[in-house]
Symmetry: C2
Subunit: 301 residues, 2 copies
C-alpha cells in the first residue's frame, strides 16, 4: 500500500500500534505532546518533535531566517496546546553538500530569535548530509503543572468550542512569522477550567474532527462565525492549514466571564465561539458542517 | 561558502556560536548528549537527537527493520557514552508519498525491537511528506546519576585510552545490527572513575582528535594495538566509521584492577588500551600516528 492511498491519519494509527510505553508515560502518541511523569507529580514533562522540509513547508528561495523561526515556533505551538512552558531544543539537520553556509547561518538566526523570545535553550543537535532537500527537525522539551495540563481528550458534549485569532491565508506568508500562543494558553489555563485544547496546524477542517474524536464527541460549527483572515473564504479558513491558533473546549457556564477577561487581557486578538461539542453522531456532523468541505491538509493525499 | 569546502566540524562550530543557554544547562552542544539539571541534583537529564537518511546511512533496498534498529541504537549509543540510562523516544519521519506502507511498518518493527530491548518508551513523533529520500530522525531522553555522568572533557594528560570491542568493517553490515554499549558503560561507571568517555561514530580517526581536544589534551596511539575487526586494515579500523564502540580515558593507576574485572564481566568483548592522552602538542600527534591517515567520516568532505 502506498502512503498516498492510505492518508496521514491512518498511516499514523498503523505505526503507533503496540508501541512500548512505560508506567511513567501519562500520554503517548496522539496528543500535541507526549506527557511524562508520576501520576501525582506536581509537574509533568512534555516532549515534542516536528520537522520542516524544503519544498514542503517552505520554498527553496525562502529567507532562511523566517524558516528557522517557523521551525521552532511550530513545536512551541504544541507546547502551548498542552498549557506548558518550553524548555530545551535540539536541532537535527540533513543538508545538501552544495548548500551555502550563509543560508544555514540565517536559519540559525531565526532559530535563536525564536529561542530567545520564548525562553528556550538550544542545547545541541545533529548534522548529516542530505542527498535531497534540506530537512530541519526540532526536538523540544517543556513542562506543565499537572493541574494545568490540557489534553485533547477531555472535551464533553455541550462544551463550547473556541478558537484564538483568525483562520486561513497562512500561505500568503503568515506560516513563516506566526506567534505561537504560549502566553495566551498560559493565561487561559490560569483563568478557566478548559476541558480540552489543541493547536490548529493542519486546518480546522482536519483538526476539529481529530479533536472531537479524541474526546469521543461529535461537533457542530457555525461557518458564519468562523474568524477569517481578511480576504479569506470559509473554505480557506477551514482548510488552508498552518494557522497555529488554539482550539479549545470550555464548559458553557464559564463562557461569559472568560470572554470579558480575555478582551481586557488580549484586546487585539479575537477569541471566538465557533460551535459545540455534541454526543457522537456522524449524520449530525455532516448536516451541520453545511456546504464547505472539511478536509484540511493531508501530507500524503 | 559551500559546506563541502567547510567540513562538518567547522560547520557545527559556526552554527553553535551564541546559542541561548539557561542556567540549568550543564552541558550544551558538543558532547554526546546535552545535560540538563540543577548543579547539585542527584540525577541529570540527557537529551539527544540523531538522524538516518536514505542513501547516506542506509541504501534504498535495505531491510527496513534493520534500519529502524540502527536509527534508535545510534541515539542509544550516545546515552551510553554519557554513562546514562535511556528514557523516551520520539520518531520524526519525512516520507515520499509513493513509499510503501509495509516498509514503514518494517522500520517500526526495528524501532520497537530496539526500544523493548533497551527499555525505551516510544511516546510519539511527527510524520511529513518528503520530496526526496526517507528521513528518520530520533529524539531520545535519558538520565544519569550526577556522579556517574561522564563527559568528553574530563581527560587528563597521562590517562590511558581504551576502546571496547573491535573497530572497522561496519560497512559490511555491522552498522545495521550493532549493540549500543549501554550495559558496558553502566558497568564501567560503577567499577572505575572514568575521566572522559564518548562513542566512536565517525571512526576513531575523526573522533579521537575531537575527544582529546575536548579535554585540552594531545594523544598518541599505537596502531599495532588497535582491536581490528577480522579482515580489516589499520586504515579501515581508524576511518570506516559507525563502530559505535566506547572510547574512554582512565587514570593509569586504575588500569589493572579494571581490566581483570572486565574480563570476568564481559569475557567475549575485548577492552583494549590503544594509547595515552598527552600534554597538547600537534607535532607529537603527527609523529606518533605513524603512516595511516586519521580522517574518519566527514559528512560534507
Amino acid at each position: 500500500v502506498k502512503l498516498r492511498e492510505l492518508g496521514e491519519d491512518r498511516l499514523i494509527a498503523r505505526l503507533i500500534r503496540g508501541l512500548p510505553l512505560g508506567p511513567e508515560v501519562r500520554v503517548g502518541p496522539g496528543d500535541d505532546c507526549a506527557v511524562i511523569g508520576a501520576p501525582r507529580a506536581a509537574r509533568w514533562e512534555l516532549l515534542k518533535t516536528d520537522a520542516v522540509v524544503e519544498g514542503v513547508h517552505f520554498e527553496p528561495g525562502e529567507k532562511m531566517e523566517r524558516v528557522g523561526w517557523k521551525a521552532l515556533c511550530r513545536a512551541l505551538s504544541d507546547i502551548a496546546a498542552m498549557g506548558g512552558v518550553p524548555g530545551h531544543a535540539l536541532i537535527t539537520l540533513a543538508v545538501p553538500a552544495e548548500y551555502e553556509m550563509e543560508k544555514l547561518e540565517a536559519l540559525y538566526r531565526g532559530l535563536r530569535k525564536a529561542a530567545r523570545r520564548f525562553g528556550v535553550s538550544i542545547v545541541g543537535g545533529e548534522t548529516s548530509r542530505s542527498p535531497g532537500p534540506l530537512f530541519v527537525s526540532i526536538a523540544l522539551t517543556g513542562s506543565v503543572e499537572r493541574d494545568r495540563c490540557i489534553l485533547r481528550s477531555g472535551g464533553q458534549p455541550g462544551d463550547a468550542l473556541y478558537v484564538t485569532g483568525r483562520l486561513g491565508g497562512s500561505r500568503k506568508g503568515r506560516h513563516l512569522d506566526f506567534v505561537p500562543r504560549l502566553e495566551e494558553a498560559r493565561w487561559l489555563t490560569s483563568h478557566a477550567k478548559l476541558h480540552a485544547m489543541m493547536d490548529i496546524s493542519d486546518g480546522l477542517g482536519a483538526d476539529l474532527p481529530r479533536f472531537a474524536a479524541a474526546s469521543g464527541c461529535g461537533y457542530c460549527i457555525d461557518q458564519d462565525t468562523l474568524p477569517r483572515t481578511r480576504g479569506c473564504s470559509a473554505d480557506e479558513a477551514l482548510n488552508d492549514g498552518e494557522d497555529f491558533e488554539l482550539l479549545f473546549a470550555l464548559p458553557m457556564k464559564a463562557r461569559e466571564k472568560l470572554l470579558g477577561e480575555w478582551k481586557r487581557a488580549f484586546p487585539r486578538l479575537p477569541l471566538t465561539c465557533i460551535g459545540l461539542l455534541l454526543e457522537p453522531s456522524p449524520q449530525l456532523v455532516a448536516a451541520r458542517s453545511g456546504g464547505a468541505r472539511l478536509h484540511g491538509f493531508d501530507h500524503f493525499a
